[in-house]
Amino acid sequence: MKIVAVCGMGIGTSVLLKMNAEKVLAKLGIDADVEAADMGVARGAAQTAEIVLTSEELAEELGDVPAQVIVIKNFFDLEEITEKLTAAVE
């Protein structure tokens, strides 16, 4: 499964989100490739990914993509990430 973590710049927020998503996926036993990307790269990457992880503001900016877009409020709340990822893959 391909997952893209998106932020505006591709160096800060998305990297942290990728790290925490990988922790959660490992715990859930889900085999997935998580990529951190900025908005420009993400518009392309989101065409082939199954899931996009991002914040509320950026989800609006990203617009319509074929991937399932999951909005994370607290990037350090592993429970929130677990809950939303579990719901998305089911």
């Binding site: 505006g8 710049m9 160096i11 990297v15 908005m39």
Partner: protein, 152 residues
């Protein structure tokens, strides 16, 4: 032992006063400049990033990760720490108001991964974050970060 985040910080300012989110980001930017990580232009780029993309950098309750992309204004890359005496609104519905601003500058997309891992470890430790939020001096912040690194 994990990377000690204190060693990666270009500057630490505690209980600072900022009138609004722009002033808060300016403090974080000034810290990066003082540490030789960036030029003043990078501070403007961080503010422009929020103006363009919205306050998404408020990534957890009370925590803003101010940053822009790699640019000529980034000299070596670095991290600055600014805790605020009075919380500031960034306009992020879920995570306002902000009490800690981390300024981040990177020269490329890969070089700072170890630092980001250390940062993620600290920011996700809610007990440590409570102590860090009330730390009155830079030395107190360094002491808590040192303990965390030793325990990791």
């Amino acid at each position: 032992m994990a990377l000690n985040l204190a060693e990666a910080l270009s500057s630490i300012e505690t209980q600072a006063e900022a009138a609004d989110w722009r002033a808060a980001i300016r403090l974080a930017g000034a810290g990066l400049v003082a540490g030789g990580a960036t030029t003043d232009a990078y501070t403007d780029e961080m503010i422009a990033a929020v103006e363009k993309h919205g306050p998404y950098m408020v990534i957890a309750p009370g925590i803003a990760l101010a940053h822009s992309r790699p640019s000529p204004a980034v000299l070596t890359g670095g991290l600055s720490w600014v805790s605020l005496a009075t919380p500031v609104e960034f306009g992020n519905a879920a995570n306002d108001p902000v009490t800690l601003v981390i300024g981040l500058a990177a020269t490329d997309h890969e070089a700072h991964l170890q630092v980001m891992q250390a940062l993620a470890g600290v920011l996700s430790d809610s007990a440590a974050m409570k102590r860090l939020a009330v730390a009155a001096t830079a030395d107190e912040v360094r002491a808590v970060l040192g303990e965390l690194a030793a325990a990791a």
